[in-house]
Amino acid sequence: MAFQTIPNVIISGIAACVPKNIEKNIDSSLFSNLDDATKFIKSTGIVEKRTVSDDLTSSDLCYYAAEKLISNLNWGKEDIDCLIFITQTPDFIVPATSCILQNRLGLSKECHAFDVTLGCSAWVYGLSIMGSLISSGNFKKGLLLVGETTTKTKSKQDKSTYPLFGDAGSATAIEFSPGSSGFKVHSGTDGSKFSAINIPDGGFRSQTNLNSLDMVKFEEGVVRNKLQYIMDGAAVFTFTITTVPKSITLLMEKSQVENENIDFLLLHQANKMIVDKVSSKLKFEEERVPTSYEKFGNTSCSSIPLTMVHKISSHLRTKKLNLIACGFGSGLSWATAYFETKNIICPDLIEV
């Protein structure tokens, strides 16, 4: 239960792509004055974030990341066995975006492609899913594309959510490598708290209708409609600071890995408070906990690969690293992975 040992797989490369457009929180009209804005930035750590233009989607960001990664890896497109696209902001309800990406990227028709819906836990779950598919040796090369246009699901009039989130897409190349230690994963779910992070309309429980677009004021500075994101901040915070350290500790124990042997702890970039709290509980000092929330905000599922590209790319390219990654969020869903990397391909951050 909960633990997986997935041998014979390695991460061969990681790329990330963000939109060029920057929004600085200090300039946000959502804050009543400069003091408020400063306070917010101090507690969340989020100075600025990137936002997509109307015509860009998560799949576009992932596409650019993937093209760059394939090129730098020198992979033949016809050799890519599997493509998984994980997002909460797909291009269409129907068809799956992974099929569109298969064609757009020029991959073989024999490519196994599907979409997965998960939020902030997605990249680690993705390692597990893609790793499992490749581990058996049936497949040799896979692309895990993880991205979200979080800003498209947030109300621009909601100061409790809009300033926290940014957009990004990523591509992770996973390869069959017989004899490799692979990935060790711990995962969990608590659906009893599913409403802590949700969008009320737009699915099939409550389909979109004209009323979905009505903007409703919940309190001063919090105005949104039913197609926009709701978060119970307190519930999410409580969940994070209890469940997340537990998952990481359990995985480290199960994998027989000591704290001092971990080069970097990669946490989902919810905000500074959460990252600091979790890393201090686990006794990981700042130097070993790279962050990207300052410049990119909470980019949901792609925050871990984005942080890797943004902060530790030179280490990834030139060293052997022991890494722990933990994603946690909507569902509520969480997963921790322990894996090693050695001189992997990691192109500079792509901006579109």
Binding site: A113, I129, F194, G203, R205
Partner: protein, 353 residues
């Protein structure tokens, strides 16, 4: 490329659930006069469909009922279910993932690995491959694949090229890690060039929902649809299905040395009878080996294969050793085949809610 053999994986049971409410194509004015209705039913084979029309039943509700039944019949301890996959294109919410909600509703452990897959008619095939991959290393032992759709919710009642074809259903398939068994063999393929052949234009993030999305437009063939409803290029889908379907089955058989003559049953995605018969003839399969559920249930998207097994092969699958070939094809475009063997497994009667 495209082929996967998952050893140590056993299919342990199937269950299915449909809404009680039936829509009868014999009374459907949309199809035209009585002559046209007869021709439609003769060609497609679809006499009636079970639909959620006007009710609050959703895909996850039907899958929940199917799962509860299956777990009970299997005598599985809920705490032992290691992973749950929910395959659908009619999930409860944009997010969170419906599988998380089902983890709670089913009373599964917090240690359960859950994820949603978004795929249509080929969804059960891809879902089986994914869950088998997750189980095959032995870390996870028991898994549930819940596949279903409320397809009728995405079809325009004024579009006779799609509305009369679809029904709603939710299914559960139980898979277990069992050391030493041959496992399942899979072939999958994707062709995103055809992604426009079956599409809902608005409601995703390429074309966000707007008031314009609700406006009905009239099309060349006389059908009326809005942008939140499925457009289906029947001819393109037909062409694709009758060529790719057989090719996938032949390719899988060749790769894994399967003798097609020894297979007991071929369970095809229940698109429509005209198409499936063409496929059957191409592969030269005698008709008694190809069960149909579409006459009573229509095209139920990703659940059509398990639904057909439950409604047409339940007795056989519970009491006999069977060699089964399954093949599905559809939206994406995405398609694939799976071969597996069963040896007297759990398969309760269909549940209606």
């Amino acid at each position: 490329m495209g082929f996967q053999n998952f050893k140590n994986i056993k299919v342990q049971g199937f269950a299915a659930c449909v809404p009680k409410h039936i829509e009868n194509n014999e009374n459907l004015n949309l199809l035209g006069d009585s002559e046209q209705i007869i021709k439609f039913i003769e060609t497609t084979g679809i006499k009636q469909r079970h639909t959620v029309k006007g009710q609050s039943i959703r895909t996850s509700d039907m899958c929940l009922v199917a799962a509860e039944k299956l777990l009970k019949e299997l005598n599985w301890n809920k705490n032992d279910v290691d992973c749950l996959l929910f395959v659908s294109q009619t999930s409860d919410y944009i997010f969170p993932a419906t599988s998380c909600i089902l983890q709670d509703k089913l009373g599964l452990s917090n240690d359960c690995f859950t994820m949603d897959i978004s795929l249509g008619c080929s969804g059960w095939i891809h879902g089986m491959a994914t869950i088998s991959a997750l189980l095959q290393n032995g870390g996870f032992k028991k898994g549930l694949l819940l596949a279903g759709d409320t397809s009728t919710m995405t079809k325009s009642p004024f579009d006779k090229s799609s509305y009369p074809l679809f029904g709603d259903a939710g299914t559960a398939t139980a898979i277990e890690f069992v050391e030493g068994v041959d496992g399942i063999m899979v072939h999958t393929s994707t062709d995103g060039k055809g992604h426009g052949a079956i599409i809902i234009p608005d409601g995703g993030f390429r074309n966000f929902y707007s008031p314009e999305s609700e406006i009905y437009k009239e099309y060349e063939d006389g059908s009326r649809r809005n942008n939140l409803q499925t457009f289906m290029d029947g001819a393109a889908v037909f062409t694709f299905g009758i060529t790719k379907g057989p090719r996938s089955v032949f390719a899988l058989a060749e790769k894994y040395n399967l003798n097609l003559a020894e297979i007991d049953y071929f369970v095809f995605h229940q698109a429509n009878k005209f198409m499936v018969e063409k496929i059957r003839n191409k592969i030269k399969i005698p008709s008694e080996k190809v069960p149909y559920s579409l006459d009573e249930y229509g095209n139920t998207s990703c659940s059509s294969i398990p639904l057909t097994i439950v409604t047409r092969l339940s007795n056989k699958i519970q009491n006999e050793k069977l060699k089964i070939m399954t093949c599905a094809f559809g939206v994406g475009l995405s398609w694939g085949s799976i071969y597996f063997e069963t040896d007297g497994i759990v398969c309760p009667e269909i549940i209606m809610i």
